[in-house]
Amino acid sequence: MNLDAKIPAGPIEKKWDNHKFNLKLVNPNNRRKYEILVVGSGLAGASAAASLGELGYNVKVFTLHDSPRRAHSIAAQGGINAAKNYPNDGDSVWRLFHDTVKGGDYRAREANVYRLAQISNQIIDHCVALGVPFAREYGGLLSNRSFGGAQLSRTFYARGQTGQQLLLGAYSAMMRQVAAGTVSVMNRREMVDLVLKNGKARGIIARNLITGELESYAGHAVLLCTGGYANVFYLSTNAATCNVSAAWAAYKRGAGFANPCFTQIHPTCIPRSGEHQSKLTLMSESLRNDGRIWVPKAKGDKRPAGQIPEAERDYFLERRYPAFGNLVPRDIASRAAKAMIDEGRGVGPTGLSVYLDFRDSIKRKGADKIKAEYGNLFDMYYQITDENGYATPMRIYPAPHYTMGGLWVDYDLMTTIPGLFALGEANFSDHGANRLGASALMQGLADGFFIAPATVGGYLGSTKFEPASGSDPEFAETAGQVQARINRILSIKGKKTPTELHRQLGNVMWNDCGMARNESTLKKALKKVPEIREEFWSEVTVPGSDKDFNQTLEKAMKVADFLEFAELFLKDALERKESCGGHFREESCTAEGEAKRDDANFSHAAVWAYSGEGKEPALHKEPLAFEHIKMAERSYK
């Protein structure tokens, strides 16, 4: 597997400009001759489709939803980072670059992150121009707030709905291209496989979710903007349909999968209430700006929060990390909460939560101010838990939220398959082992609006294409393989529902490879996951036919992929014997229990290559060099 990241030469500040200059251009009149398939319509997909459409390419966008605007980017609450330095608090492209590399625990590629920081400012400019109603000051200029892991205010936001507003912005830009005739939206279609011709990605097989037909689409480049795979844990903050299937299909067709074990566990989620739980709801971590996180000092203290006197409360984040306090990065906050719960100091009926208390800030700022800032979150909390967060502390528990791992891509965002690009959360490139708050939206839009349109053009301009169409034998063959898999699922007619098997998988993943992992839990999980997979292939039941709107079949296909993918996830976690970012190996920690990196052995991206069914995947490594940022212990004390 060739893991040449093709990082352009020159000083880091000039790399992207130099590279854009060196990329081949496609003559405007020729662009309409190229067909680009964009899979997924979240921030990355919608923005890429919009920009590519504006340039004049023919773009098809595939979404499994009824509308592109439903993609899960819509649920991001907190905000989007940019190095504008409007608040004059010392921010710069360099500092955003630095913070992101450090926040990612030195497991990201410097050149990519620098480019991300550079582009961050253009994103804000463009989104304002698109009519995104960002928060503003009375003077009419944009407002910023600080966000987990940052000591300055560089986060732009639109109330608690920043993801929604940015997605609607990108979506509207894309709909303009729909009107212009350059983009067509193929809704209610799910990519089920990738089609290669002469070693290049030349199309996809998509399942029409209404008729159930497998449809062939040929193109010159395929952009996977299919998001992350946190649903491998069954319970996560992701939407029900978030999946790994498209990325997994690409992996099985030859794309390298990088760092699958890098998962972000978000600290401020609403704890689960029972076995019936279908998803976990995140509350913006901006809550940590005013809420104080604590547990009782005594184990098994069952008194209601209000009856626990101040002296018997342990504000454990403030105690352990005095410099950052409640604002430490997500991985650290999550692990600290887990440590308290493991000590038996968790609260609530299940003991699986910690308090997030607004008592002091209500006293200091007044309930009205708190309501104005977080009212929608308090309402949401009330609706789900039936508890009033103003009167009693909220209860929170960490939940899988974002996956830093993904398809390996080079500087051009191209995977190891020529013509197959991966954008946004679907790729691995920018967040290393841990993502900073408000950086996901930034990356999705940077990839889609600014990077892919340039690099996809460069690929098209420098590549000779043989004709390809959906009626080629390669398409029929791939579709045949998909159909065989579908037939096999339908023919089992066992006793277990896809959801039950998914829940089983999730339990294993969460218990053995969740916030903390060690060799023995991972090995245990590596035995259990194939067993569940076997159970799936002998016990699953899917009623109805495949030539129909069949949600159970959709779910079963996703679970089948998760069951294969989980094993790779576990292998990667086992292989990486160090702790870094969201990946915490209990064997690798400091005397105080903090994560300890092993830069000598693991300063690389672990890239896995498929070697065929039932065969061990091959591990390749892309070494990471840090020329501009000195590697240091990530300390927030």
Partner: protein, 265 residues
């Protein structure tokens, strides 16, 4: 599991329909072991798990984020659009709202412009076509001036945000006695009309979007404000008034003509 302890039973009467244009009917199912902490959709999950195990076709129902922002879900529960909770999506409805033995009717959006695809799922793509007619600001990537180049009055920005909060679920159309999409369209037009960035093409936008809305066969506005009453994001009918105003100004004092439908550059 503690669920069983508090578990209660309800009967759900659900609309079953195999496909667009096929006949449909209400069918009753008993759901046991319902926990008050369950969401309404989790209760339907429970029903579906049971149906799948029996080899029956589960009820097709659309939902995704289950946190009230994606706009996928939408059901009429006991005659209430998005269920009995005010200004909320049905995914945020919890079973603690119901009692043991309740009979709950669950029906799809029944709107002429949203044909039923299957069971409780409808086709809302008409709203997409309204958006494509002008629900955007025409600016190419890379062409934008600095974000702070044009100050925006904070109150206008807040009002634009109020309008932009629309999640496109279609509840307004469903609640409307005339099946009108005025609140949806008015909200989008308002958002851009309130911002200086959206102003240059506001006249063309309102004429184009109105034309598309009418083409899709949505009803008229009788100003009864049922839409506002159910909107999960509390989008106000003042946005419809603003759309009307925009229309009158554009029609009588503007030079713009609507962009021709489906024009291919």
């Amino acid at each position: 599991m503690s669920d069983k302890k508090n578990g209660f039973s309800v009967t759900v009467r659900v609309w079953r329909q195999d496909g667009t244009g096929e006949p449909g009917r209400m069918k009753a199912y008993k759901v046991s072991d319902v926990s008050p902490d369950m969401s309404f959709l989790e209760m339907l999950d429970l029903l579906n798990e049971d149906l799948i195990k029996k080899g029956e076709k589960p009820v097709t129902v659309e939902s995704d984020c289950r946190e009230g922002i994606c706009g996928c879900c939408g059901l009429v529960v006991n005659g209430d659009v998005h269920g009995p909770d005010e200004h909320s999506t049905v995914c945020q409805l919890h079973m603690r709202r119901f009692r043991d033995g309740d009979v709950i009717t669950v029906e799809p959006w029944r709107v002429k412009s949203f044909p039923v695809l299957k069971d409780l799922v409808v086709d809302r793509s008409a709203l997409e076509r309204i958006m494509a007619a002008g629900g955007y600001i025409s600016v190419n990537t890379g062409a934008a001036p600095d974000a702070n180049a044009a100050p925006v009055n904070k109150d206008d920005a807040e009002e634009a945000m109020d309008a932009a909060a629309c999640i496109g679920c279609g509840a307004c159309v469903t609640a409307c006695p005339n099946g009108a999409a005025m609140l949806f369209t008015g909200a989008k037009i308002s958002q851009f009309a309130l911002l200086p960035q959206g102003s240059p093409e506001r006249q063309r936008r309102v004429l184009s979007m109105l034309e598309a809305m009418d083409r899709e066969g949505f009803g008229n506005c009788s100003n009864e404000y049922e839409c506002e009453a159910v909107c999960p994001k509390d989008v106000k009918v003042a946005n419809i008034a603003r759309m009307n105003r925009e229309f009158l100004l554009a029609n009588f004092f503007g030079k713009a003509e609507p962009q021709s439908a489906g024009s291919r550059d």
